[in-house]
Amino acid sequence: MTAAADLAPSYELVVIGGGPAGLAAAALAARAGVSTVLFDENPGVGGQIYRAITSTPVRSRAILGEDYWDGAALADEAKASGALIVNGATVWSLDRQRLVGVSLGGKARLIEAGRVIIATGSQERPFPIPGWTLPGVMTAGAAQTALKAQGLVVGGRTVLAGSGPLLWLLAAQTLRAGGRIDAILDTTPRRNWLQAMLHLPDFALSPYFAKGLALLREVRAKVPVHRAATIEAVGTDRVREVVFSGAGGTRRLPVDLLLLHQGVVPNVNLANAAGVAHVWNDRQLCFVPVLDAEFGSSVPGIAVAGDGAGIAGGTAAAERGRIAAIAAVRALKPQAAVPDTQAIRQRLQREEMGRAFLDCLNRPADSFRLPEGDTIACRCEEVTAKQVRETAQMGCEGPNQMKAFLRCGMGPCQGRLCGLTVTELIAAERKTTPDEVGYYRLRPPVKPITLAELASLPISEAERKAVER
């Protein structure tokens, strides 16, 4: 295992994130002769889609599906490429001088990078409903991660709620693994279909079409699906019941576990803190980095690939990683041989084809993005939707000012679970757009580091002199 002390002071290319984008990027660059290091904070590579691909205890291939096992080839390729792959390594800082702050094994290092590819992927969109902070309420992605990485399958009374392909994928995987799902609460607004149909022709040609239909059929055959316009997790010490309202009035289901999911959004923290410019993407309802055709960002030498560049799925993530890596290789080693970008772009285009349909169909309802009353918006600092709305009405124009009033976004998750909610709430209250309102200005460390880790940074020459003097 690589230790902090084993790292070189600099690498030509630093790739941050070991999902499909990062693995593909690192493999391509290393193969072209670029000195490459890949940092990922998880114990193993694979990212979200291929989580624990090298170590999963799930033996039956059918449970996770063939798409999952595709990841093994990527992981092998990266391993064989000569890139240094470092797991358990959390990148906590990146700046426009491309200095990378990373911690592993309780020790921190600062590493200089010739180029950087941020491949930190996506996270699930916040799902602020009453009671979403109670123990027993988790994300669907969490259940999927437990299944992939530890072979844990949901056992008690379980309800899934939300929208988006991953919800159905997790349901299918859980059922195949013998897990229990009592009901699915579908929160997709019906009128989304109208918008989505416009994009159906493209979607019908994309690889996701047939897969998606098959999944829906597989799950619907085994689990009752209810439409839900409101959902509440009820309990004091933990969730006991889920209360939802739909066409048939209000219903209550006793639960041990409520799994929430309404799509994924780019994980912007590291790019934002590095000074990368972002814009609001109204179709995906999230901020995405401003990128050129090679996925280069507004900060020279820093690219963002994979779902962090805007959601397009795991296969697209790998292709994007390759394109970003080719650009890096060309900049670092102009003579090195690289694969043909044209072919990669064609594959990427095919992958991205059905996105518009999926984005429109799975656009989460306003009521599940714009909470009201005592529903918690910021989980860390326990700030309610009402507080955010009232502060916006008082004149607070942006999330950065909001931080100072309410401390929302100032806890350990650094806005990951409240950023979009706070921006959208302010925009709604002030009758403007999320783009106008903007996002939190994020500060490093993008992941908290211990004082001990920071104190462990190697002492620089200059400082040593200062002390000796």
């Binding site: 904070e41 998880n42 114990p43 979200q48 624990a52 170590s55 205890p57 799930v58 033996r59 449970i63 358990g88 959390t90 309780g106 996270q123 699930e124 902070t133 109670l134 123990p135 027993g136 309420v137 988790m138 994300t139 992605g141 969490a142 991660t145 437990a146 299944l147 990485a149 530890q150 072979g151 844990l152 399958v153 949901v154 056992g155 008690g156 693994a177 013998g178 010490d237 933990r238 041990d256 576990l257 994980n267 989980r379 860390c380 600092e381 326990e382 806890g411 350990p412 998750c413 990951r416 679970l417 992941k447 908290p448 211990t450 001990a452």
Partner: protein, 97 residues
């Protein structure tokens, strides 16, 4: 809430608030707590509300626990090790603990 598909991975003993919990190789601290049916791993510093792992992917920070004496660690990112001491976290961390 969760059951194991197969108990084939080697067992690893960790202690959680002084009690022995049997985890499996490949577990993270958060997964081990969930598998053991431990309902919450911390209470919040603001209101003292109980919290349990929420995202299992390192973004929510609700899985914060004390691991081998070091506080506020993300349990969902740390693999278990034989003999590891995990403590659930109550409210604000005591300085000097």
């Amino acid at each position: 809430m969760f059951k194991r598909l197969a108990d084939s991975s080697p067992a690893i003993a960790i202690s959680v608030d002084g009690k022995t919990v049997t985890a499996r190789a490949g577990d993270t601290v958060a997964a081990a707590l969930l598998a053991a049916g431990i309902d919450h791993c911390r209470t919040t510093p603001v209101t003292g509300a109980p919290r349990a792992p929420y995202c299992l992917m390192g973004v929510c920070f609700d899985c914060l626990v004390t691991v081998d004496g070091v506080g506020s660690r993300q349990g969902c990112l740390i693999p278990v090790r034989e003999g590891m001491k995990v403590e659930t976290q109550l409210g604000r961390r005591e300085a000097g603990r």
